[in-house]
C-alpha cells in the first residue's frame, strides 16, 4: 500500500477558494463544484428527457437549470454540462454514464473549468464591460458561452443584475480573475465619482 496521498488545490494553487470583494461586489471561486459534459450519441437526442429527469426539468438551447443534486446547462447541440457538489459527486461523470449508458458520451470536467460566483448589487455595469451579452434580455436560467478578455467563458444567469456564475478554463483562472477584478475596481471607482 502506497503511503502517499494527494491533496486538492484550487485553481489558484491555494487550499481555500479565491474570493475578492470590491465595493459590494464579490467574485468567489467554487472549487466545490463537480462538472461533467454529456453528449448524446448519434440518434439518441431523446436523452434530453433523461437529462431533464436527472436535473429537475428540461434544459433547452441556451438554458441553465438549477436543481438538486444536479444542475445543468446547454453547451451545444445535444450537449450539456452538469454541475453537482464535488464532495458528494466527485465521480459525477461515472454516475451519469451509469445512468445514461451507451446512449451518451460523458466526460469528466471537474477540473477542466473553474466556476466563479459573481454577486452584488447592479452587476450590469461590470458585465457589459466584460462580455458581449445583451444583459437586459439575459434572464435567470440562461447560459451563454462568450469571450471575456480573450478567454473562452460561460456565463450563467441566476438572478439578473445580482447573481451570475462565470466559468473559464482552469489554466486561465488567474488571468480571468484579474480581468474581472480589474473591471470591478474600475466600475466601483466610476460609481463613486
Amino acid at each position: 500500500m502506497t503511503e502517499y496521498r494527494l491533496f486538492p488545490r484550487t485553481a489558484f494553487g491555494a487550499e481555500s477558494a479565491h474570493s475578492v470583494s470590491i465595493a459590494g461586489v464579490t467574485l468567489t471561486e467554487r472549487p466545490d463544484v463537480a462538472l461533467a459534459s454529456v453528449a448524446a450519441r448519434t440518434g439518441e437526442a431523446e436523452i434530453a428527457g433523461t437529462m431533464a429527469e436527472l436535473c429537475g426539468g428540461p434544459c433547452g438551447v441556451g438554458q441553465y437549470k438549477e436543481g438538486a443534486p444536479f444542475s445543468t446547462f446547454w453547451s451545444g447541440p445535444d450537449q450539456w454540462f452538469v454541475l453537482a457538489d464535488h464532495a458528494a459527486h466527485e465521480t459525477l461523470a461515472a454516475e451519469l454514464q451509469a445512468r445514461l449508458g451507451d446512449r451518451a458520451s460523458v466526460t469528466e470536467q471537474n477540473d477542466g473549468w473553474v466556476v466563479f460566483d459573481l454577486t452584488g448589487n447592479a452587476l450590469t455595469p461590470m458585465l457589459e464591460r466584460l462580455c458581449n451579452i445583451d444583459l437586459a434580455r439575459f434572464e435567470a436560467g440562461q447560459a451563454q458561452r462568450c469571450v471575456i478578455e480573450h478567454i473562452s467563458s460561460f456565463v450563467l444567469c441566476r438572478d439578473p443584475g445580482l447573481s451570475y456564475r462565470l466559468m473559464c478554463g482552469r489554466s486561465f483562472a488567474r488571468s480571468f480573475a484579474h480581468a474581472v477584478e480589474t473591471i470591478m475596481a474600475s466600475v466601483a471607482a466610476q460609481a463613486a465619482a
Binding site: 438551447v61 441556451g62 453547451s75 451545444g76 447541440p77 450537449q79 458581449n132 458561452r145 462568450c146 469571450v147 473562452s152
Partner: protein
C-alpha cells in the same frame, strides 16, 4: 458582423472562426481513380464570387457548430445560415 446562428440567433462573427468556401464539404473519395486531380481542384480552386458566397464558419466561442453561411461578399448581407452537419448529411443523402 452578426451571424444568424440557426440555433442561437444573432451572434457576433468574432465568436466564429472562418474557413472558406463551403465546397470544402464535398471532399472527393481518396481511394477513387483520378483522386489526385479531384483533390487538386477541391483544395485549390475557388469560385471566389463577388456576390452570394456559401462559406464555412466555426462557432468556436459558442456551441462549436460548423455553419454554412450564405453571405454576399459585396454587401456582407447574410441571407442564410445552416448547420453544416445538416447540409453535409443532406448531400450524402443525395449521393
Amino acid at each position: 458582423m452578426l451571424i444568424p446562428h440557426p440555433i442561437l440567433g444573432l451572434r457576433d462573427a468574432q465568436e466564429f472562426t472562418y474557413l472558406g468556401d463551403a465546397s470544402l464539404l464535398d471532399r472527393p473519395d481518396g481511394m477513387a481513380e483520378g483522386a489526385s486531380e479531384a483533390f487538386h481542384d477541391y483544395l485549390y480552386l475557388r469560385d471566389n464570387p463577388a456576390g452570394e458566397h456559401r462559406e464555412l464558419w466555426f462557432h468556436e466561442q459558442g456551441d462549436r457548430s460548423w455553419l454554412v453561411v450564405t453571405r454576399n461578399t459585396l454587401t456582407h448581407e447574410i441571407t442564410k445560415a445552416e448547420l453544416a452537419r445538416d447540409v453535409a448529411l443532406a448531400r450524402r443523402g443525395v449521393k
